[in-house]
């Protein structure tokens, strides 16, 4: 018996069997759930915990990145500059690898009773790479870089609720909002919002100077970024590497080859079609993390035929999510329930029933809408997410059984976000996970949100969103967010079939703790958190 368990453990560690098989065998062996889950932690995410030590040049291959990249955090659009940004910069707050919010440059914070005014107290003794000491005015200027009508930052609308930012002395920042927001400190961990040194109330956003674990050494956009360890970094237990190289490797085959031949030590975006083969390589660890990233098929609720809630419900019942999970993601994800809140969120509603594939129900809702059959166009392009076109074609097959004819319109990848998304009545897109339910809802589904891709305006939802935001009682918030997930599932315009995992390959020479799930690559902090084992 114990021999069997040891064999299974070895198999799991060497990647010969996956976690699911491991669990099944363990349970079959009578080990019981508690024992089975107590083995190597979250095996797919955490197998190389060791004592951290300094040194080495860490090479990280990232799928995105472009020659047009810039250090300006207002333009951070993809994982590449976001990861580079997290290596050279620090933020007011940080989401830890276990999902809690801790202070980074802010030592502590407290809200006014209505959660409208927030006072952040800064950590003393922090220095920028250029030797300047961190002061409240730096924070004010860094946030103002994204605000106002002249700002070209992508975080402009994220910070729209801020009406005023003031420095109170050298170590306190006071931020006033236009309404209460109990989760506001989470917002300050957003990758757009690092603190940069200010001069005369302005920051020079493009010179890449921060107070993070590493200092900019060489920057060749679209090719490589080299950063060296910051000797004055204030965190004692972070920033282990002597230097880190971020390589842009757009081609997944090239990334995989580079990882297997030891040219790089980690990569993001494994090829899901072949990742089971890559797992056989004992020198590698494959991490598969559900970070709330989801694929969405937003219907414009102000355009026919999606104005009718019954049509939306018919379509939501006409997709076989489980098949889709196996076909499109090869199991690296979870089925979603037409709302963006995954099981990792604090206020995930466990009691909400998962929507299943049910062609009969779909027909029923079509009848409710007064239709015998339905023919709709779905605009698809792989720019929305890898496998979007396949998803659409698969959906077409599922829906045909419910008498729904989905006409898949293949759109060009180029210019997709400008010309197709939010322009055509039904298109596709993806969203990353957010640290809070409020953020996930406000960004996309709230009234007046810049990215309200479904043009949905539900009174009950909007008023719940507002009151939950300023509510400080945890039980009440849980109940409100739970209710909102239900409303979105049954009435919302977004058909959200899948949560897609972040699937990364990491050399076993690299040590790390449990991987964070707020963003890819350990919450974008691989450079700061990992070490050579």
């Amino acid at each position: 018996m114990s021999k069997l368990i040891d064999d299974l453990k070895l198999g799991l560690q060497q990647g010969r069997i996956d976690r699911r098989t491991f669990m099944q065998c363990m349970l079959a062996a009578g080990a019981g759930v508690a024992l089975a889950t107590s083995f190597p932690g979250n095996a797919l995410a955490d197998t190389t915990a060791s004592t951290p030590k300094r040194g080495g040049n860490f090479k990280l291959g990232i799928a995105s990145g472009s020659t047009t990249d810039s250090f300006d955090p207002g333009t951070y659009g993809d994982n590449y500059m976001q990861s580079v940004g997290h290596s050279i910069h620090s933020y007011l707050t940080e989401v830890t690898n276990t999902g809690e919010l801790v202070g980074e440059l802010a030592q502590s914070w407290e809200p006014s009773p209505d959660a409208k005014v927030w006072r952040f107290k800064l950590r003393p003794g922090v220095q920028f790479h250029n030797g300047k000491a961190l002061e409240a005015s730096d924070v004010v200027a860094s946030l103002n870089h994204h605000r106002g009508p002249d700002s070209k930052s992508a975080a402009n609308s994220l910070l729209a609720p801020i009406v005023d930012i003031q420095a109170d002395g050298k170590d306190t920042v006071v931020i006033t909002l236009n309404g209460g927001n109990a989760d506001f400190p989470y917002l300050m961990s957003d990758y757009h919002l690092p603190v940069m040194p200010a001069q005369d109330g302005k920051v020079n956003a493009t010179d890449g100077i921060g107070c993070g674990a590493y200092m900019r050494e060489a920057f060749d956009p679209g090719v490589r970024t080299l950063v060296k360890r910051n000797p004055n970094y204030w965190k004692p237990n972070r920033g282990w590497f002597d230097s880190v190289e971020f390589l842009v490797i757009a081609d997944v085959g090239a990334r995989t080859n580079a990882l297997s031949t030891g040219e790089i030590h980690a990569m993001n975006g494994c090829d899901l079609k072949t990742v089971h083969l890559l797992k056989r390589n004992n020198a590698l660890e494959i991490s598969s993390i559900n970070g709330g990233q989801h694929y969405s098929l937003p219907m414009n609720t102000t355009m026919a035929p999606f104005t009718d809630k019954n049509v939306r419900l018919a379509l939501k019942h006409a997709v076989d999510r489980k098949t889709m999970l196996e076909t499109i993601l090869h199991g690296h994800g979870e089925v979603a329930n037409d709302h963006p809140i995954s099981s990792g969120y604090r206020y995930f509603n466990k009691d909400l029933a998962q929507r299943e594939y049910d062609p009969d129900k779909a027909r029923f809702y079509l009848k409710q809408a007064g239709l015998d059959s339905l023919k709709v166009d779905l605009s698809a392009a792989d720019a929305a997410f890898a496998g979007a076109v396949d998803t659409a074609v698969l959906f077409k097959e599922h829906a045909a059984k419910a008498g729904i004819d989905i006409n898949v319109v293949r759109e060009p990848n180029d210019g997709y976000w400008k010309n197709v998304w939010m322009k055509k009545a039904w298109s596709m897109d993806y969203w990353g996970g957010k640290p809070t339910a409020d953020w996930a809802f406000s960004l996309v589904y709230g009234k007046g949100a810049s990215w309200n891709e479904t043009f949905w305006d539900d009174e009950a939802f909007n008023s719940l969103l507002l009151s939950a935001r300023s509510e400080l009682d945890d039980g009440k918030r849980r109940q409100m967010y739970g209710e909102m997930q239900g409303i979105l599932r049954d009435d919302g315009g977004a058909l959200i079939p899948l949560f897609a995992n972040y699937v990364d390959g990491i050399s076993r020479r690299i040590g790390h703790d449990k991987l964070a799930s707020n963003w890819d690559l350990d919450g974008l902090r691989a450079a700061e958190r990992w070490w050579f084992a």
Binding site: S66, T67, T68, D69, S70, F71, D72, T75, G77, P149, D150, S151, K152, S153, A154, N156, S157, T206, D220, P221, G222, V223, R224, L247, V248, I249, A250, D251, G253, A254, N257, A258, S260, T261, E263, I264, D414, G415, W417, K418, N419, W421, D429, S450, W451
Partner: protein, 318 residues
């Protein structure tokens, strides 16, 4: 020689006109593409306010022809301008990329050109023999595969299985020459396999064409050995078409290797151009296109000059 300088002057003047024409076409072409740099950089997170601020900051709110005239004015004074996306000087951005591209093209040419000429020469000598057929079918097989497939095959053999060569060709100026050559061996081999067939077959065909001429028959009847017939009698008259094909392939090695660049993650001009077109970074697209166009013009000019020089009848016209 006088004829050659006239030719040079004429062709260079025409070349400048072509370059101007290319710049206009690129300008209109990029402008016809949907979206502009503001919408493409901001992507999914574009809001109308941010897009408007972006456009204003970059002067994109001015009409197209005004922007073009400003750009052209600076360009003729040697100022390539700076990238709209990240404000970097294009001359600097382009410089290192262009050197990388030329480096890869030269390494490939050093391998491929002698190889193709030698094989073509041998194939002509042993025409229709086993060697000829084998070389023909091998090179034609390689040219028929897509480049990325050949690249993956070589990576699989030489870096994943054997572990001799790196799969990433990430060169940078700080590396010593030997290291850089070592890093580009695999991409250079891939490109060699792609370009050899064309040059080899042209060499073979040009020589074989001449073998039926009376003066070759004369030489053979004189008792000159076959290899000398080909080397000293046929080859000098075959140079013109061969040079043209070589130059065409060299131009391809400079302007057309983006797929190989992507597979080997080689920081050349192709990737720069693709990125810039994707983000509608007009000045960078212009600079890249003009460099590419100038490459074609200059290489073609070189081919013509060399053809004249290798042909006494053209060198000394009556």
């Amino acid at each position: 020689m006088n004829k050659i300088s006239t030719l040079l002057a004429q062709r260079l003047a025409l070349g400048l006109l072509s370059l101007w024409f290319v710049s206009v076409i690129i300008l209109l072409g990029v402008d016809f593409l949907p979206g502009d740099i503001a919408t493409e950089i901001l992507g999914q997170s574009a809001t109308p306010e941010a897009v408007a601020a972006f456009r204003q900051a970059l002067g994109l709110d001015q009409p197209l022809h005004i922007r073009y005239i400003h750009w052209l004015g600076a360009f003729v004074q040697g100022d390539f301008g700076s990238s709209l996306a990240n404000g970097r000087q294009i001359a600097e951005l382009l410089g290192s990329r262009l050197l990388n591209t030329l480096f890869l093209a030269s390494v490939t040419a050093v391998i491929a050109v002698p190889l193709a000429l030698g094989l073509g020469f041998l194939a002509a000598i042993y025409r229709n023999g086993f060697f000829d057929r084998m070389i023909n079918s091998a090179t034609l097989t390689f040219i028929s595969f897509p480049e990325f497939f050949l690249a993956y095959l070589l990576i699989l053999l030489f870096s994943v299985k054997a572990g001799w060569l790196p799969s990433l060709a990430n060169v940078d100026p700080s590396q010593p020459l030997f290291e850089r050559v070592y890093r580009v061996i695999l991409p250079a081999l891939t490109l060699t396999l792609v370009v050899t067939a064309h040059m080899m077959r042209m060499t073979r065909a040009a020589i074989i064409n001449l073998l039926a001429s009376p003066y070759i028959e004369m030489a053979t009847l004189k008792g000159v050995p076959r290899w000398r017939v080909i080397l000293t009698h046929a080859l000098p008259n075959a140079w013109a078409p061969i040079i043209n094909v070589i130059v065409l392939n060299l131009a391809y090695l400079i302007v057309g290797v983006v797929v190989v660049e992507v597979v080997f993650v080689y920081p050349g001009m192709g990737q720069l151009m693709v990125d810039s077109v994707k983000k509608r970074d007009m000045p960078v697209v212009q600079a890249c296109s003009l460099v590419f166009a100038a490459t074609y013009i200059l290489l073609n000019l070189t081919a013509d000059v060399l053809s004249v020089l290798t042909n006494p009848r053209l060198r000394h016209p009556k």
